[in-house]
């Protein structure tokens, strides 16, 4: 992917850029909002990673201008401002996701993957299948092989989310935000407990586990 990284802190910029390049992305960098605006206008990037507080033109205004000019590439905001109002403002300005600093690279990578490969039609698919796990979104049932799974409503949502992002890492924060709407970081490992519950239901007695823990990042659901 061709990614534009707009960030004024050089250390963060180099760290993120190096990580993304190691992932196989092509990364361009801009140190302020005006440069970012010019570069994004001239080059058709696949994704923008934008710090909110940057010199010359703040991230919000920059993205607003780009959106007004018709740019459709997804935007991930980086922000030191964790405030709910700031987050809402960022999303309203045309951001697709946000990440509060400090963040781990694993979290950033997971979110970039979620944004970049978001398949537009996938949301409307009524049956999701990964390996021998099938989930019917209309009848709200799931089966592993021939065995029906008894899932509570929240467990179903959790599995659905993992399957929609099959093959990609889903972080604990992503689950907290998307399944429970919690925008804070609980001290307890509530996500882990939930995941191990559905893992027990799905992978129990199965030779091939589907839900894998990614150390330091989160979970990934994949067939092998």
């Amino acid at each position: 992917m061709h990614i534009l990284l707009v960030e004024d802190d050089q250390e963060t910029r180099d760290y993120v850029a190096r990580g993304l390049r190691e992932e196989g992305h092509v990364v361009d960098m801009a140190g302020n909002g005006l440069d970012g605006l010019h570069q994004a206008s001239e080059v058709g990037y696949d994704l923008l990673v934008v710090d909110r507080m940057i010199p010359a033109l703040d991230g919000i205004s920059m993205v607003k201008s780009l959106r007004a000019a018709g740019m459709t590439a997804p935007v991930l905001f980086l922000t030191a401002l964790g405030a709910v109002a700031d987050r809402v403002q960022g999303l309203e300005a045309g951001g697709d996701d946000y990440l509060v600093k400090p963040f781990s690279f694993a979290e950033l990578r997971a979110r970039i993957n979620a944004l970049s490969r978001r398949p537009p039609l996938r949301e409307e698919v009524s049956v999701l299948q990964v390996g021998d796990l099938r989930l019917d979104r209309l009848s709200r049932t799931a089966v592993r092989g021939d065995t029906p799974l008894e899932l509570q409503q929240r467990e179903f949502q959790l599995l659905e989310y993992l399957m929609l992002h099959a093959g990609r890492v889903v972080t604990r924060t992503m689950l907290l935000e998307n399944i429970w709407g919690f925008h804070f970081n609980p001290a307890s490992n509530i996500v882990d407990t939930h995941v191990s519950r559905i893992r027990a239901k799905i992978d129990r007695g199965n030779q091939a586990p589907l839900i894998h823990t990614v150390r330091g990042a989160g979970y990934v659901l994949r067939a092998h």
């Binding site: 964790g82 709910v84 429970w180 709407g181 919690f182 804070f184 609980p186 150390r215 330091g216």
Partner: protein
């Protein structure tokens, strides 16, 4: 004492200005009176002299010079009489004892040695000289001092009254000022002590009827100082706790990294690094809590308040936490009724409840039942989180609510280490781990933001935390 200080005071300045003005206006009044009295007395005297001269002229014309001389002799003997001097055409003295040389016709002011024996003053005579029909010349005069005596009496009276008024004004001014000055001094002293760092210094106002606006000012200053003291206290506590809470995990990070450096195997090194990472996460969570607290206290979230169903809220929380609570050997049940609507921010309320649930999990023995409920009660909505653990002694509830308190003397062990979490200021405290006490401070801040009343109660056994909100009618969302 404090002479310079005394004159620097507003009261004394006002008193002096007032005294000066009174003095000036009195001086003016006295001057005017003096002039008026003088001219009135003098003009009386002139009239009298003129009439006398005319009368004597008549006498000479009608009765002859000799008769006039006789008349003058007689008149001069009367008490309070005028003084006369009559000379003939050649200047020869005929009658009278006004010791005058020949003066031309008209009015004169003449100074003479006092006729009275032993008197030192010189008389000032007002004299009218006129030429009679037969060529003789008559001078009639009187001592001006007699007129002036009246004038002087008036003047003296005015001076006395004036001086007394000015003096009285000054005395009252000084007394009032010194009284006020004492209060101002006390205030200055108090503020000086505060500036020097003694935040507990307070102004002592006078009580009862003698209390004035300066005492009111002093009381306001005291209230302000109380508030500042409280805030500074909270800030100090927060700083101390934050420093402590961060030092521990940070030193753990350091230890883990050292372990990683000296690790014998790759596996050991990885374990050490992961342990360091999780410690860093603790630190970040504490920072997060601090920032969150600041954000909540800024109050911006109020603009996002919506009407929400508290029953749904507690269901969602319980749903999220139940597996974790059960995994820890406790149970979590909800007790919500329908239609429990309040106005607020669901994210923040979720966080408050999450913190309370986590708190209950940390401080209760296994087997404890944790109950979250949302009930309407008249015009209010009550959300409670209660447990069947050891609770907090009732007499400590207000302490816990008001200020930092550590029920368990050993910091960082099981037990209650609920510090200023419930407090009134922006206080915070933490005890068991980073973000823990801060977590409770966040609950208190969120309650304040929602104008909710936060109370601790006895769930017999166990602790009950109640948040009481204003109820709203609620609409289907």
């Amino acid at each position: 004492m404090r002479t310079k200080h005394l004159f620097a005071s507003t009261g004394i300045r006002l008193a002096l200005i007032y005294g000066g003005l009174v003095l000036a206006s009195f001086s003016l009044a006295i001057a005017l009176t003096w002039v008026a009295a003088r001219s009135a007395a003098e003009s009386d005297l002139r009239d009298r002299i003129r009439l006398e001269v005319e009368a004597m002229e008549q006498e000479i014309r009608d009765e002859g010079l000799a008769a006039a001389i006789a008349a003058i002799e007689v008149r001069a003997e009367r008490p309070g009489a005028l003084e006369y001097w009559l000379v003939d055409g050649s200047g020869q003295h005929l009658a009278g004892d006004l010791p005058l040389m020949n003066t031309p016709d008209g009015w004169h002011r003449i100074e003479l040695p006092d006729a009275a024996p032993g008197a030192e003053n010189r008389e000032e005579m007002l004299v009218l000289t006129a030429t009679m029909g037969d060529g003789s010349r008559l001078s009639v005069g009187d001592d001006l001092r007699r007129a002036e005596a009246v004038r002087d009496a008036v003047l003296r009276a005015l001076l006395w009254i004036g001086s007394a008024t000015v003096l009285l004004g000054l005395v009252v001014g000084v007394v009032v000022t010194r009284r006020a000055l004492a209060q101002v001094d006390a205030l200055t002293e108090t503020l000086g002590q505060v500036s020097a760092g003694r935040l507990t210094a307070r102004f002592t106002p006078r009580a009862g009827r003698s209390a004035n606006d300066l005492d009111q000012l002093g009381l306001s200053v005291n209230r302000m100082l109380d508030h500042i003291d409280e805030l500074v206290g909270s800030v100090r506590r927060v700083s101390r706790d934050v420093a402590h809470d961060l030092r521990t995990p940070l030193s753990h990070v350091q230890q883990r990294l050292e372990q990683a450096r000296s690790a014998a195997t790759a596996e050991e090194r990885l374990q050490a690094i992961e342990a360091a990472e999780s410690k860093v996460e603790e630190v970040l969570r504490a920072f997060d809590a601090i920032l969150r607290l600041a954000e909540i206290e800024a109050g911006a979230a109020r603009s996002r308040f919506v009407e929400l169903d508290a029953a749904l809220l507690i269901e969602r929380l319980a749903d999220a936490y139940r597996p974790d609570v059960e995994a820890s050997g406790r149970t979590l049940i909800t007790d919500g009724t329908d239609d429990v609507w309040l106005r607020g921010d669901s994210e923040l309320l979720s966080q408050a409840l999450a913190n309370l649930i986590e708190n209950a999990m940390r401080h209760t023995p296994t087997g404890t039942r944790i109950t979250i409920s949302a009930q309407t009660d008249g015009p209010t909505v009550r959300i409670t989180v209660s447990d069947t653990g050891h609770g907090i002694p009732a007499e400590r509830h207000s302490d816990v609510l008001e200020t930092f308190v550590q029920l368990d003397s050993s910091r960082g062990t099981a037990g209650f280490t609920r510090k200023d979490a419930w407090g009134n200021g922006s206080g915070s405290g933490s005890g068991l781990g980073p973000g823990f006490g801060l977590g409770l401070s966040i609950v208190a801040a969120i309650a304040r933001l929602h104008d909710a009343v936060l109370e601790l109660g006895d769930a017999s056994p166990g602790l009950r935390v109640t948040l009481t909100f204003n109820r709203v009618s609620g609409q289907a969302a």
